[in-house]
Point group: C2
Chain length 307, copies 2
């Protein structure tokens, strides 16, 4: 095995994904396990890393390679706390702030990238993992300026200027959809199969409602339920409406009001379609970047500065 | 037992409460069971009614009294569907629209009051039980005109004019607090004991944030978490902030912008304090009515029109 090869890991809340890279940057192999930070205590991480390395056909004890980790493994409740950079944060030298796991005879060298924090009173915010994707965005689209949207469990809206992350805000959109459709009265209006005939109509109605009256979310949420009770709306409509309402509300609040440059939407294809459609309704242009490609490009760029 | 005596029941989602009344309207006894609509199928209701009647020292089989029910027992998934009146709904004759349970040798006469619906497309809404409290409000404050706020799991904001319920809107505030603090990342910031030293400061910060920027709820929710991570805020602050943020957002959206008459806040004392404080910050006056008193007054008033 090439001494110059290395392993990049995106260690999220629910899952962990790993890639091995050759000296030329080509992906040699990839692996994933449903063993995210939420299921692990700090002492569990070396064992899961060994599992990943075995899947990637690396021998952990050989130590002739290095590992770079981004994401929740660097949280206080993760493997080893990697702290936060503060905004405005220069993204190119992100790797310089990586924290090294104390060495051990069974482990290769492991560095964990920091997150980024906003400490403005009343608008405190944090990210872990998305900073690596934003660095990847700058690598994939050199000189990118403007707003990036990273939809998901916790959607991030980030401002990029001069290669720096100048500010960002999180919306709990994905997690709220999950909690509302599983743990509130709205669950009675949710379908067994997520997609059906009326889903698109529900999404369109929800997007319109959220974009028009983002301040009315607490009330409009209940329309999901009431419309199935008194207006004959189907469960597929309701599920689409809830999804569109949350995304419309998010975009109305966090998308820039006027924007010359297109917004970079970094995420999974289904979410990208939904967000780009909401942005278009506000007259905003967008480009899409696959989330995994952004993560991989970011890990590669960060590694150049790990010392 | 006086033939003129009767039993009033508020059958909610989680609990059921019952009162027996003498011919003069005085309360003879009260009873409550944690057997709400969510735990019952339709055939279970007669048995729970018998339990309640035993607690009230009535003999169900004697049939020499009547029972009037408001609340979720009249839902499609309740005991027996009691339908909805549409807004604008005249409240005084509410009892005339009660639905009678088919007679049975083991049951006294049981009538269930209807709910009220808004069928305006895009603003569909429903209530069950609150219409009885609003009728009670009109009995306790004859000639009441203006807005009533009924905070809770599903807060209701109702407009009363000329004795009629002219419109209303629901906010999922209480249920959202519960779902967020139990089933999302915010649970990591919630204290074991709800009230502590920083709770009031958290409530004040949350109220201010919600009142000022109701459109930013999806983002400000995450401040609950981030402020404990990067600004050293305590879990008691976080719990107070989440509560204040949701109530402030609700009041900013659903309280009338200008109002001559005081707003009637019908609820439990702790919630009344919170809502009256939010209303005061908007320059709005309020009066408080105990929720149980409103329910009892409403059941009495409704019964006069049951035919």
């Amino acid at each position: 095995m090439d001494k110059a090869s290395w392993v990049g890991i995106d260690w999220g809340t629910s899952n962990v994904r790993a890639w091995s890279f050759g000296a030329d940057g080509a992906i040699l192999a990839s692996a994933a396990l449903p063993k995210g930070m939420a299921m692990l205590a700090s002492p569990d991480y070396p064992g899961v890393l060994s599992e990943l390395l075995t899947l990637l056909r690396f021998n952990a004890a050989a130590q002739d390679f290095e590992v770079l980790v981004c994401g929740m493994a660097g949280a206080r409740a993760g493997w080893h706390e990697a702290g936060y950079l503060d905004v405005p944060a220069d993204l190119a030298p992100l790797g310089r702030s990586a924290v090294r796991i104390p060495s051990s005879p069974d482990l290769p060298r492991v560095d964990i990238l920091p997150g980024v924090a906003v400490r403005t009173p009343g608008a405190e915010d944090v990210m872990r993992g998305e900073e690596t994707q934003l660095l990847g965005l700058l690598r994939l689209h050199p000189g990118f300026e403007g707003t990036a949207c990273l939809p998901g469990t916790h959607s991030k809206w980030a401002n990029i200027s001069g290669g720096r992350l100048t500010g960002f805000a999180t919306a709990m959109t994905g997690e709220l959809f999950e909690a509302l459709s599983t743990h509130t009265v709205l669950r009675h209006s949710m379908p067994v199969e997520l997609i059906g005939e009326d889903t698109e109509a529900g999404i369109a109605d929800g997007l319109a409602a959220g974009l028009e009256r983002p301040e009315a979310l607490l009330h409009q949420l209940f329309v999901t339920r009431a419309a199935t009770l008194v207006a004959g709306k189907s469960q597929h409509w309701a599920s689409g409406y809830l999804s569109g309402l949350l995304v419309g509300t998010e975009v109305a609040t966090l998308a820039p009001a006027n924007h010359e440059a297109p917004i970079a939407v970094i995420g999974a294809p289904r979410l990208q379609r939904l967000y780009c459609s909401a942005l278009a309704k506000r007259g905003l242009q967008s480009i899409t970047i696959d989330a995994t490609e952004a993560t991989i490009a970011g890990l590669k760029a960060a590694r150049e500065h790990v010392t």
